[in-house]
Symmetry: C2
């Protein structure tokens, strides 16, 4: 994972609201509100974009070194947040996953295979079609993932491979 990722849209709700939502989630599951969990959520909020667990870990290490947050906690918290629907992930196969705050509307991704930039889009017609296809096969649809890979305009200009 040496690629950059810069582009993303901004979250729609205030941090205060998000934090309240998170605390309620924890309370209703008999989980505890810890400094580590908060800093992970806060870091995701203040850095819109898509991050690997490792990237997030490095960011937190730099910005809140006093917490000494371990990478295992980053993984554990990201799982927690994903199960709760607060973050979503894109999978890059063997190269791991990238996470983003998922309080935005559902969307798919278009990814530059040269610089790793991730853009987001939503297409109602495609969404509907997928539901129709699942139904056709008799599946109860749980999830779907659509990724378009290509070379972004900037990389085309730079002529980098």
């Amino acid at each position: 994972m040496k690629q950059e990722n810069k582009v993303a849209t901004k979250p729609l709700i205030s941090y205060e609201t998000l934090l309240t939502q998170f605390k309620q989630l924890l309370r209703s599951n008999n989980l505890k509100f810890t400094k580590q969990r908060e800093v992970i959520l806060h870091t995701l909020y203040t850095h819109p974009g898509h991050f690997t667990p490792e990237e997030l870990y490095q960011l937190i290490k730099k910005e809140s070194p006093e917490l000494n947050t371990g990478i295992a906690t980053v993984y554990r918290t990201l799982s927690l947040l994903e199960n709760a629907g607060i973050v979503t992930s894109i999978s890059f196969g063997t190269q791991g996953k990238k996470y983003e705050l998922g309080i935005k509307a559902h969307h798919d991704h278009i990814i530059c295979t040269n610089c790793g930039k991730i853009l987001e889009f939503f297409d109602e017609a495609i969404e509907k079609k997928q539901e129709r296809i699942a139904k056709e096969f008799g599946f109860i649809m749980e999830d779907h993932s659509l990724k378009i890979f290509g070379i972004c305009p900037e990389c085309q200009k730079e002529g980098k491979s």
Copy 2:
């Protein structure tokens, strides 16, 4: 990777043709035609479906034990075949990839999250839409991947999870 995979369509060309194609590919890249490479191709041909490298390795070990093919060779050959466009893969995140002979027409996948069954479909409208979206963003589209996850009819009946 404990799930089964059974469903797949059949390849469209004869093994002879495929083999010739493969040999030409090798020759034009100064690569060598080895028994191991042939048996891997042949196994993929005679077992339509989606396989992990490990599954393929086990299959070859059983069917052609005299070759003593190592799993590293399976990985290396699958990469070679994928780069050449002869096989394609679906990624399952940390759980690895599954490969299939890619001499069929392009298609997407619908995957049962309970039993791991993989079905294939093709939707012209979705394909076109994706091209349009890539163009909109100024991308040169290289590839795309669409996966629908859900519970297949059989698993719904069995009420498993």
